[in-house]
Amino acid sequence: MLFNSLSFIVFLIIVLALYYAPILTWVSKKRMLLLSSYIFYGLWNPPLVILLWISTLVDWMAGKKLAIEENKRKRKLWLLLSMFVNLGFLGFFKYGNFLLENFTALLNAIGIEFQARPMDIILPMGISFYTFQTMSYTIDMYQKRTERARTFLDFALYVTFFPQLVAGPIVRAQDLISQFYEEKKATINQFLWGVFLLTIGLFQKVVLADTLLSNTADDVYGAGKVLHSLDAWTGTLAFSGQIFFDFAGYSTCAIGIALMLGIILPDNFRYPYASIGFSDLWRRWHISLSTWLRDYLYIPLGGNKHGIIRMYVALMVTMLLGGLWHGAAWTFVVWGALHGIYLVVERLLRSKIHIKINAFNGILLAFLTYTLVNFTWVFFRAREFSTAKNIIASMLFINDGGEKIVPSFDIIKVFVLISLLFICHWIMRNTSMKDVSLKTPAWLLGVVWGIMLFLIAISQGSGEQFIYFQF
């Protein structure tokens, strides 16, 4: 089920009515939330709920054993079981065809004639998110960083909690499970702030991403031609805005919906396009994934505790795998590699050059960071390397006389919108929406809120899927 759909509005109203009706105990409310979460997921493809159940059962069992087992070998085996099941699902459903294609290409390259029929595999929605979330539980249990979930119900709800089930934020056990132990009820202000966040999230997704930006990005990346530099830049900038509004929109909706139930989810985005450098970017973009990769991949690989070379290797491996997490294609690996290289170069430069950041050089560095980020988005969006190569060449003004396919109106629309996005991120980089709202007169907030509702209603859209569902 999609947040930006009529069925979800009805679903949410029913869930909230049951949650706040004085007829259910807290345990019954949690059961109702769990059942609702399965319905939320199952209305997309019912059989794939079984994967969620298996993941839940295996990690519950592993966690239970890890809580009492002291034998190191056995503890490791329980951890490996959890990893095997979760990564096995991920490997089969997400990377099965990719591995097969590469295996075939490798055999062909060494002269062995082999043709494999692509496997007809459905990618379960949100599998990358919920497997990472459940794995964090067993890894934390193994490292004794978190306590075992008190009941199976609490654990199952942690794995399946519908607001963040399919596209995050990827929440750690200690941040979410403990919230299920005692009855939660949103205060009126929390509830209304949740509604406000849901409105903002839908506005970002339906109006900004789908209505104002996606068509331009789709036209440019689907053109199949060598494009004029202005067109290539317009398409890439449009995509940079689309993916931010799409994904941040989902996270904002998720946080808002959870808050309406009295559950607090962590922030996932903090105005990333005003980042000064790439370390800063990854502290602001998809925060729950970057901290996951830091804690469960980068640090175990050595982090910065074993010398510079090891640190750079750990950084590159983390970013390459981070790229692959986003999609089973080499273009995503290149996207991750570029980010890894940016991070390595940034650390090298920081050790040599010390700049005191002020408002003037800060905005220039943020602009430089954002410009470099746009080159990485090319590989993220392009389906083939040939497309990426053409777009990059056009963006670097290497292609002479490329074709003009983007209408002038759309160029102006994208540049105005993206400029506003960048300025907005810069102004907001050291504050939060909550702080700004607190300083805003109630009438002004109401008017802006009403206009957003109106624009969502007249944009309508055709219930486009969120981009990150495919990851």
Binding site: L43, V207, L212, K404, G446, I458
Partner: protein, 358 residues
């Protein structure tokens, strides 16, 4: 911050804007209308797969969709007309799916619109893609999408500004279309002429030409312009480009006839029956069809290769001279007449039994 006050204000202000927006579009003579979207098509496909009623299936493109009126068909034949025509689509992938994935052995009426039917032999061809997209959606649609459609219908029926379509009509009033209409003379080439909605759609996917398109010739002319007949006509017969296009059409025609013959043969062997129907077109559209899809080389070749019963409107005097406001689809009144006459012809030709005609 007083969130309660902001929320109340937002609700009132948002509602005022939405109601104002609705009233504005109603004042502009826009009325609520259902969209012939993929969900509506999928409902017909689902009905086709599950219904035990006495039924006949119509496949083809928009001409069969506009020209066959389901209430007339039901009234005079006592059979349910399942309408699986696809606007801008070809019937070939639909026929293949019926053959391979269903047990249906009844009558299939195949509407043949030459430029869509004979010019799509591959999965990447325009009209093939359009039909395939609907089949894929029908197969893959989720329960959530089914619920969305059921919730969307009351909104489509009651709100003039609300749309849930897959076609991008130029007179849609969603934000994306309104912004698109602001585009003017272009760095990216000429803007295509506007393509306005000219159909009234019913829940059972019975589609009628709108009164405006029937009565307002200026409006009908905008639709004719959208067909791109002027550009089509400009293809000079001696030019290299034209020769290339002709060669392409010829290749595709041969493939289409070969595929269709194969599917039709398998279907009739299975016990089913197929009839080919060429719905009317007129004016410049018909002239260009004659020029680039001459009857002898296309329609007659298809009929001869398949040996299927066939009805070409030009072979029946009563089907000539009907009102085709935008040269390609019949007006509502003449679609009723055409449907009734077609039933009579079917009975005369033994395609339908006589006792079904009341």
């Amino acid at each position: 911050m007083n969130l309660k006050r902001s929320f109340i204000l937002a609700t009132i202000f948002g509602l005022i804007l939405i109601v104002g927006w609705e009233l504005y579009w109603r004042s502009q003579n826009r009325t609520p209308n259902l969209d012939d979207n993929k969900a509506l098509w999928a409902q017909q496909w689902s009905k086709f797969e599950t219904s035990n009623e006495n039924k006949i299936v119509f496949i083809g493109s928009s001409r069969i969709l506009f020209d066959i009126q389901r209430p007339i068909w039901k009234k005079y034949t006592n059979t349910d007309a399942i309408m699986l025509g696809v606007q801008g689509g070809t019937p070939l992938p639909i026929l293949k799916q019926v053959l391979e994935d269903t047990n249906y052995k009844g009558l299939i009426v195949v509407g043949v619109a030459p430029d869509l039917f004979f010019w799509a032999s591959e999965i990447d061809d325009f009209s093939w893609k359009r039909s395939k997209a609907l089949l894929d959606y029908s197969k893959d649609r989720t329960y959530a999408q089914r619920i969305n459609q059921n919730l969307s219908i009351p909104l489509q029926k009651n709100l003039a500004f609300y749309r849930d379509g897959n076609e991008e009509w130029s007179d849609d009033v969603d934000l994306a279309t309104l912004l698109k209409n602001l585009r003017s003379g272009e760095r990216a080439g000429p803007i295509p002429p506007p393509f306005f909605n000219f159909e009234d759609v019913h829940l059972d996917r019975n589609v009628e030409m709108s009164t405006k398109a029937t009565q307002d010739s200026v409006f009908a002319n905008t639709i004719i312009k959208a067909w791109g007949l002027d550009e089509w006509e400009k293809e000079i017969e001696d030019s290299e480009e034209y020769k290339k296009m002709q060669k392409d059409i010829e290749n595709k025609r041969n493939k289409v006839i070969s595929y269709f013959s194969k599917y039709a043969e398998e279907y009739t062997r299975k016990g089913g029956s197929i009839v080919l129907v060429r719905c009317p077109s007129s004016g410049k559209y018909r002239d260009l069809e004659r020029r680039d899809f001459p009857r002898e080389e296309f329609w007659d070749s298809l009929v001869n290769n398949t040996n299927l019963p066939s009805i070409h409107f030009e072979d029946y005097p009563q089907l000539m001279g009907l009102k085709i406001p935008e040269l390609s689809h019949l007006s509502k009144e003449d679609a009723n007449f055409f449907t009734l006459e077609l039933i009579k012809i079917f009975k005369q030709e033994g395609i339908l039994s006589n006792n079904t005609l009341q």
